[in-house]
């Protein structure tokens, strides 16, 4: 008896939950006044059209967004063209899509919307009585057009609506251009970093290698191969992120070359948990820190200097630190260079900036230093980050 009561209660609970979930999923938009509903519907459709346009004026992107844009206008057919061909078509008359770019010609040339007369519209479909072609711009340059066909005679209402949708679309295309610019500037930043490591280091390495050519040709050969590997990694052109293991490999080659120069004066220690070797980190985010550590660890003294690199697992994060026991620094100087002032630590600011970009503002570099007390630079890398998985 009790058993059945409980079972029925459980089933009833499950059904109630299911209904609630279904209502929640379907019904959230049902609330509100008519005008709120209309606003919601319009903005929602616009928001669906937007992501596909963020890739720029491409065939794939326009094909995905054109049906939503047509939904906004409520016209029987809508086309998107670039300057030379029709990219996407939604609605009646798909077979006649090449007409759209012809009808858009005037709009593309003049940069302002034009009316397509009944005769031209009939070429596409017997049903159509008129059409509007409105230009699409990016950075104030006409790059394409939106062509709408209607089975009613052309009127100012349709004209205004098409113009507004074209403006909205142009806005998205501007954002696409912004995205591209931003990506280009991030790439440029990495390029700058590559340019930074090269001059001193290449010169020093080559002279160090040269000094071994006669006395120890085998070592010279090994060092040259390390040098080759190191440059191939540093100058590679793809990917903003890399596995920690690969970056460590490059750091190893870098340190081998530095040791050729400094000999026993440069001591190194590496401590790494094997679990974090596959963590993806921004490309070249450890090497500049090691370069700093070598420079500041040995600079201005004849004694030995030790550079320690550790990478440890801390639950969902990996903590990487680079430490030297050199002259240290005034924390104020570091603070200033991290905030972007030009100085001796450009590499530091660059790494900090890229870490914040990839993982958020609470994942910047942490620098512990004081005059004559060495320097320790630590970063916390999440094992999973959306920015990295998105690449």
């Amino acid at each position: 008896m009790d058993a059945w009561v409980l079972a029925l209660a459980a089933i009833a609970g499950a059904i109630v939950l299911g209904v609630l979930i279904a209502r929640w999923v379907r019904g959230r938009a049902r609330m509100g006044t008519e005008s709120q509903m209309a606003t919601y519907r319009t903005l929602h459709i616009a928001s669906l059209a937007a992501p596909a346009l963020r890739g720029g004026l491409t065939e794939a992107g326009t094909a995905r967004s054109v049906k939503y844009l047509r939904g906004l206008l409520g016209v029987p057919a809508l086309a998107i063209t670039d300057r030379f061909s029709t990219l996407a078509w939604d609605g009646i008359g798909d077979k006649q899509r090449e007409f759209a770019v012809q009808h858009a010609e005037a709009a593309l040339d003049s940069g302002s919307p034009v009316v397509i007369n009944a005769e031209q519209a009939r070429d596409v479909s017997e049903m159509f009585r008129s059409g509007i072609a409105a230009p699409l711009t990016s950075d104030d340059v006409v790059i394409g057009a939106l062509v709408a066909y209607s089975n009613l005679p052309a009127g100012p209402a349709l004209m205004r609506a098409v113009e507004e949708v074209a403006t909205f679309t142009s806005g998205q295309l501007d954002l696409a251009e912004l995205d591209r610019t931003r990506a280009r500037s991030a790439e440029a930043e990495v390029r700058v970093l590559r340019a930074q490591i090269s001059p001193h280091f290449i010169f020093n390495s080559l002279t160090a290698i040269a000094s071994f050519v006669r006395t120890d040709p085998d070592r010279a050969r090994d060092l040259l191969l390390d040098f080759a590997e190191f440059t191939r990694y540093s100058f590679r052109s793809h990917g903003r992120y890399t596995a920690l293991a690969d970056e460590l490999r490059s750091v190893e080659q870098y340190l081998l070359l530095e040791q050729a120069r400094f000999g026993d004066r440069l001591q190194v220690r590496l401590r790494v948990d094997p679990e974090v070797l596959s963590v993806r980190i921004p490309f070249l985010c450890i090497q500049p820190l090691v370069e700093n550590a070598v420079r500041h660890g040995l600079e201005g003294r004849d004694a030995q200097g030790t550079v320690s690199i550790t990478a440890i697992e801390r639950g969902p994060e990996c903590w990487i630190s680079v430490e030297d026991d050199g002259v240290g620094n005034d924390p104020q100087v570091i603070r200033r260079s991290l905030s972007g002032e030009p100085g001796d630590h450009v590499g530091l600011a660059n790494v900090d900036e890229r870490l914040r970009q990839a993982f958020g503002d609470d994942h910047g570099l942490v620098v512990e230093t004081a005059p004559m007390a060495g320097t320790k630079v630590t970063m916390r890398i999440p094992k999973f980050a959306e920015a990295v998985s998105d690449e």
Binding site: D2, G56, A183, E275, E313, E391
Partner: protein, 580 residues
């Protein structure tokens, strides 16, 4: 039994664990060693670590106990625990690794780009983790009670403290080495005694466990009753008792008629040689032959229960949060797949042993059927069947293995639960990442410890199968659809996770609180995976189809990333350049 030796075995495991954890990260003092230090963990060792974390107290102690009591039906437990990895290997391992996700909530974010689904998944990870840690602590309590005669809460408390010390002390940095070591310790600890047990059994003229009679006491046997019990007696039986039996105080000889009898705690029963073993009311009374056959347990709807159990174990494995995080150590999807393949072999090797303990337990430790504490068979059998000094050393060895079992699983689960708690809950309020992780770790241990004090103890392997059922009803449909069906939407995933989670948890709660439900309600509620998983799957599909406009933007890119083998050189840099 020699408690000192057994305690030493357990203590040694704990010390070695802490020691290895503290010194196991790789150290290189010259650039020449860098290469070795930055080489990724080989697949077989990673597989050892996964197996080490996976083989819990339920596997080490519980499976043998269930087989001893339930016979052929219970063999599905070890089979299911191992088969889960076949599905994991075929359907989940490589794509999950390629997604870059560390935890299951990460996967939700990577696949569905939704922070709400992420939160639901986090809550479920914590729930499954707690459900899974609970039997580990109870298993520890049982082991210590049997070996050292401590109260049951002591074991759980000691394990909790050890786990906390290891994690909060920052010692558990390099889990792979520790867990890998614990796998091999467990294999040795369960396999070496098997060899001795089989030798002793041969020397005893190989008595069959599959006779037509119920188990009998071979010798005059004294049993001390620790908890009040109700037993079923199948034929008239004369015994000696001291204490309270059937509500009356007795001291001396006593005759039991067939039927049910109650025995109060603190009572001592002495059975003559050749007496048929009375069974605890919840343990099925089986003859040897019946024990060897499937579907004989006498429970209602045994066929359904068996299939539902298979459903839970086969599909639940892929949703176990502490197992999945270990796959992150693999450098790529290919290595993840190879690791999963080796895990099947390693786990399969281990599960050869429990059936032997189960069978020999019926011959040499039948009093466990009376007390119902069959979970203890692995710990008691070496002494009962081998005996002598060898028996004591073997007991110390299984004690060490049992300690490894509950430590490995409890630590792994706590790290995972603490990671999720600190990332999604605590760090929102506590800025310092170290403090935040410590608070989360304490919560991850304390909740199951307190639950263990109030919750009734189920057989270990069955308790763990409940965690499997929740995983099967929630994460398994999410992973299957998320990886193989591009049209899954965030709304669909959220609805399915909530529905599956609520249904499975409610079923478990009801069937534990009201243990004697009969008929279909009893069967359905005690094994919810078989209906909750299809319901969650259908909900995910249905809601996703209704909310097609919410399909993840860029899902094709995500799918390509998940499914493209590493050997294929695709352009993996999806920057603006790739889209132009």
């Amino acid at each position: 039994m020699n408690p000192t030796l057994a305690a030493a075995g357990m203590a040694l495991t704990v010390l070695v664990t802490i020691g290895l954890a503290a010194y196991s990260s790789r150290l290189a003092r010259t650039t020449g060693d860098f290469y070795v230090a930055s080489r990724s963990v080989p697949a077989w060792w990673n597989a050892s670590a996964i197996s080490g974390e996976y083989l819990s107290a339920a596997s080490f102690l519980g499976v043998a106990g269930l087989i001893m009591a339930g016979g052929a039906d219970a063999v599905w437990f070890p089979v299911g625990y191992a088969v889960g990895y076949v599905l994991l290997l075929a359907l989940v391992a490589a794509p999950l690794r390629r997604s870059g996700a560390y935890t299951l909530p990460d996967f939700c974010e990577a696949r569905l780009r939704s922070s709400k689904v992420r939160l639901i998944a986090s809550a479920l990870v914590v729930l499954i983790g707690w459900l899974y840690v609970l039997p580990q602590l109870q298993g520890a309590g049982l082991a210590l009670q049997i070996l050292l005669d401590t109260p049951t809460w002591v074991g759980g408390l000691l394990v909790s403290i050890t786990v906390l010390v290891v994690i909060v002390g920052g010692g558990m940095r390099s889990v792979t080495l520790v867990q890998g070591f614990q796998y091999w310790l467990k294999v040795v600890a369960i396999m070496v005694p098997v060899l001795f047990l089989l030798a002793a059994w041969r020397a005893d003229a190989s008595p069959s466990a599959l006779t037509d009679a119920p188990p009998v006491f071979d010798d005059r046997t004294t049993v001390r009753i620790e908890n009040p019990i109700t037993v079923n007696v199948s034929e008239q039986l004369t015994l000696e008792a001291e204490g309270t039996v059937d509500g009356a105080t007795v001291a001396g000889s006593l005759t039991w008629q067939p039927g049910q009898h109650t025995v109060a705690d603190g009572t001592t029963l002495v059975f003559p040689a050749g007496a048929t073993v009375p069974h605890l009311s919840s343990v099925p009374q089986l003859t040897g032959a019946g024990w060897g056959q499937p579907l004989q347990s006498g429970e209602e709807h045994t066929l359904y229960r068996t299939f539902a159990l298979m459903f839970a174990l086969f599909l639940g494995t892929m949703g176990l949060p502490h197992v999945l995080v270990r796959f992150y150590t693999n450098p790529d999807g290919r290595a993840a797949r190879r690791t999963a393949l080796v895990v099947i072999g390693l786990v399969g090797l281990f599960y050869l042993a429990p059936s032997v303990y189960g069978m020999l337990g019926r011959l040499y430790a039948p009093e466990l059927l009376l007390t119902g504490r069959t979970d203890a068979v692995v710990l008691l059998l070496p002494q009962a069947a081998v005996g002598g000094l060898a028996g004591q050393w073997l007991t110390a060895l299984v004690a060490a293995g049992a300690a490894a079992a509950f430590l490995a699983t409890a630590t792994g689960l706590t790290v995972t639960v603490a990671g999720v708690l600190s990332q999604d809950v605590v760090s929102k309020r506590v800025r310092d990442p170290i403090v935040s992780f410590r608070i989360a770790a304490a919560a991850a241990v304390l909740v199951p410890l307190l639950l263990g004090l109030v919750a009734e103890s189920l057989p270990l392997a069955r308790a763990v199968s409940l965690a499997f059922a929740v995983a099967a009803a929630t994460f398994s449909p999410l992973l299957l659809l998320g990886i193989w069906w591009p049209k899954l939407t965030d709304a669909g995933a959220a609805a399915g996770l909530l529905l599956g989670g609520v249904m499975a948890t409610a079923a478990i709660a009801i069937s534990t609180l009201v243990p004697d439900l009969a008929g279909w309600p009893g069967a359905l509620l005690s094994q919810p995976a078989a209906w909750a998983m299809p319901a969650a799957l259908a909900t995910m599909v249905g809601v996703s189809l209704r909310t097609a406009h919410r399909i993840t933007p860029g899902v094709d890119r995500i799918m390509i990333r998940l499914h493209t083998p590493e050997a294929v050189a695709v352009q993996r840099t999806w920057t603006a350049r790739g889209l132009r």
